[in-house]
């Protein structure tokens, strides 16, 4: 079991896109940890030296690598604090909505009948509202804070997982080994955990990887609109929102946070994309998408 899992991991890591994605993500994470630990600048320290261009000298041993913003804060330090913050928030969103969606999907497909019908109609309604609009409505009700933004985005994305899990469970439910386990008198819960869940996990992880990039975009967009992080929290959307007015004088205050955000989103899309092709053997051979396996 362990060796076969290692083999899967090895095969996945051979996919070029997954490798590039992980490489970008790790580089950004290392930079971010380095900045949080060693940067001589605080993310919220205001100084009179506003809108200094990139690489301008400072009164510490570091230059302002990406310049300073309209309040004289170091853009490099803030951008990489924001990396940790946005990634953490996106993970929170995915864990929250993923686990609730998983529970709803399993309950729906296993209990069936009225419960299934009611749960799925609710999911249909939520999905028929454009996600970001619903997130705005929920966040506006809850009040502006990064915590409420996480809750709003998590609620909006639950149906994606619920439907996915339900469809996988329904297809596994009738397979021989599940029927055999039932015949052997094992409890439903045991069968779900031991025999059904392992089949859900690959699709689930692929979806979660794509949803991470969505969550980052949503968090930044909510903060940009004013319904997420509030000053002086270092958050990409909020940074771009405040820098927007000074684009003519200081383009770097808006462009660099955006670039790091783009690289983060790109790396999750690359990983998710590679995983999806890996899980879809039809695509691997028929369409000629180049996935290097074994």
């Amino acid at each position: 079991m362990v060796s076969s899992r290692l083999k899967v991991l090895e095969e996945v890591l051979r996919i070029k896109r997954v490798r590039y994605g992980i490489f970008i993500l790790l580089s950004l994470a290392i930079l971010s940890i380095f900045v949080i630990l060693f940067s001589p600048f605080e993310y919220d320290r205001i100084s009179p030296r506003v809108h200094l261009p990139p690489l301008a000298g400072s009164d510490t041993s570091w230059p302002h690598i990406l310049g300073t913003d309209n309040l004289g804060r170091d853009v490099f330090t803030r951008t990489f604090y924001a990396f940790a913050l946005d990634l953490g928030c996106a993970l929170a969103v995915v864990i929250l909505s993923g686990s609730i969606g998983l529970a709803i999907g399993i309950a729906s497909s296993y209990l069936g009948g009225v419960i299934d019908a009611v749960l799925m109609r609710i999911m249909d309604i939520v999905i028929s509202i454009p996600g970001f609009m619903l997130a705005i409505a929920i966040a506006a009700v809850l009040g502006s804070s990064i915590f409420n933004a996480i809750i709003a985005i998590a609620i909006v994305t639950i149906p994606v997982y619920a439907r996915l899990v339900r469809s996988v469970v329904l297809s596994v439910k009738e397979s021989l080994f599940v029927l055999a386990a039932k015949e052997a008198g094992l409890s439903d819960l045991y069968i779900v955990v031991k025999h059904v869940l392992p089949h859900v996990i690959p699709t689930f992880i692929t979806q979660a990887s794509m949803e991470l990039s969505n969550a980052i975009i949503y968090i930044a967009a909510l903060s940009f609109v004013g319904l997420g992080a509030q000053e002086p929290v270092p958050e990409w959307g909020l940074m771009i929102s405040s820098a927007r007015r000074y684009v003519r004088e200081a383009w770097w205050t808006a462009v660099f946070p955006g670039l790091v955000m783009f690289l983060t989103v790109l790396s999750f899309n690359l990983i998710g994309d590679g995983l999806r092709d890996y899980l879809d053997p039809k695509k691997r051979t028929v369409i000629g998408v180049q996935v290097e396996t074994s």
């Binding site: 309604i125 454009p130 619903l134 940009f224 609109v225 003519r248 462009v255 783009f262 369409i287």
Partner: protein, 336 residues
């Protein structure tokens, strides 16, 4: 056959009506789960005692939730979305004023993404597994990973600062244009004012590109995969063996089949355009619905937010229903 089509359309319409009803219920529940007095939330900063009393009477806020819902839904069905006390107009009027600008921008962006995405996708499929394909596929992934936040800022800098073009608003206010359709590109032409048209055209390009580039990346990928899938099928091989010219095989046999699934997926991506639209309209000061939502959020005007969510969701449901029905007409295979 005809009966089946009618049945399908009927079933799809019923489904759409239920979805719209569901959306109304969700929006109603959201406005009532607020801790504290919903009248204060409706009024926002304008919550004076007289106003609170007025709103409570108007929406029946002292009655049971069921009665409140009946009042709510009967007003919605009459097209009355309530009044914005903060902005001083009815919500319906505010949205109606802004909607054409957003529709124009989104449709323009959508057409732009089709023009960029589909030909490049075909090219990528024709040259599959070559360097061209690799470059195009890489560009596609980068394209749809571009957050509208960054892309908008970059295009604002490029068009506004590097090229020195106007990048804010729909048109220079010095052009006085009679409004016929609400769509500025059409109105300027109907007025016969070419300079105004060129001004409006140059202003719609940067925000539309911001919305179009991610979608074009997605369409490129979809077209490529879809065309490749069709290329593997028997009838294409037959056509090739008959020595039909390659172009005819491509355009008559392959594209016709390959582009169908793309149409439905493109309909679903309307929701993605809506997200981008709010950001883009804010960055480029485009006076549409997205900008209205941004203004409503900064003014804490919950009535406008709620009304906009309702309107955008209903448009989304209608668009997807129409796309589904059209798709069924075009593709005989899915008629039961």
């Amino acid at each position: 056959m005809a009966r089946n089509i009618a049945q399908y359309i009927f079933y799809r319409l019923i489904q759409a009506v239920f979805s719209i009803f569901g959306v109304i219920v969700v929006v109603f529940l959201l406005s009532r789960v607020l801790p504290g007095n919903p009248a204060i939330a409706i009024l926002g900063p304008k919550a004076t005692p007289e106003n609170i009393e007025k709103v409570t009477r108007e929406w029946g806020l002292d009655k049971s939730y069921f009665e409140q819902f009946l009042i709510y839904i009967s007003r919605i069905l009459q097209g009355d979305l309530g009044d914005s006390y903060v902005m001083g107009y009815s919500v319906g009027r505010l949205i109606a004023e802004r909607l054409p600008a957003s529709i124009e921008l989104v449709v323009f962006a959508f057409v732009l993404s089709l023009i960029i995405g589909i030909p490049l996708g075909i090219l990528s499929a024709r040259k599959h597994d070559t360097k061209t394909d690799l470059i195009l596929s890489t560009l596609a992934v980068m394209g749809f990973s571009f957050p509208s936040l960054l892309l908008g800022i970059l295009l604002l800098i490029f068009f506004g600062i590097n090229l020195g073009l106007p990048v804010s608003g729909r048109i220079d206010p010095r052009y006085s244009i009679n409004v016929y359709t609400g769509f500025i590109l059409l109105d300027t032409l109907l007025n016969g004012n070419i300079n105004a048209f060129l001004d409006a055209f140059s202003r719609i390009i940067p925000p539309a590109l911001t919305l179009a580039i991610p979608l074009a990346g997605l369409l490129l990928r979809l077209t490529r995969n879809s065309v490749l899938e069709v290329m593997m099928q028997d009838f294409v091989r037959t056509a090739k063996m008959k020595k039909l010219p390659e172009n005819i095989v491509m355009y008559k046999h392959i594209l016709r089949n390959a582009l169908l699934p793309i149409i439905t997926i493109a309909g679903l991506y309307f929701a993605v355009l809506v997200t981008g639209d709010i950001v883009v309209e804010t960055i480029f000061a485009w006076p549409g619905l997205g900008r209205l939502i941004w203004e409503a959020v900064s003014l804490r005007d919950y009535m406008v937010i709620q009304g906009s969510v309702l309107v955008v969701s209903i448009i989304y449901i209608v668009v997807n229903t129409v796309v589904d029905i059209l798709y069924m007409y075009i593709d005989p295979r899915i008629r039961g």
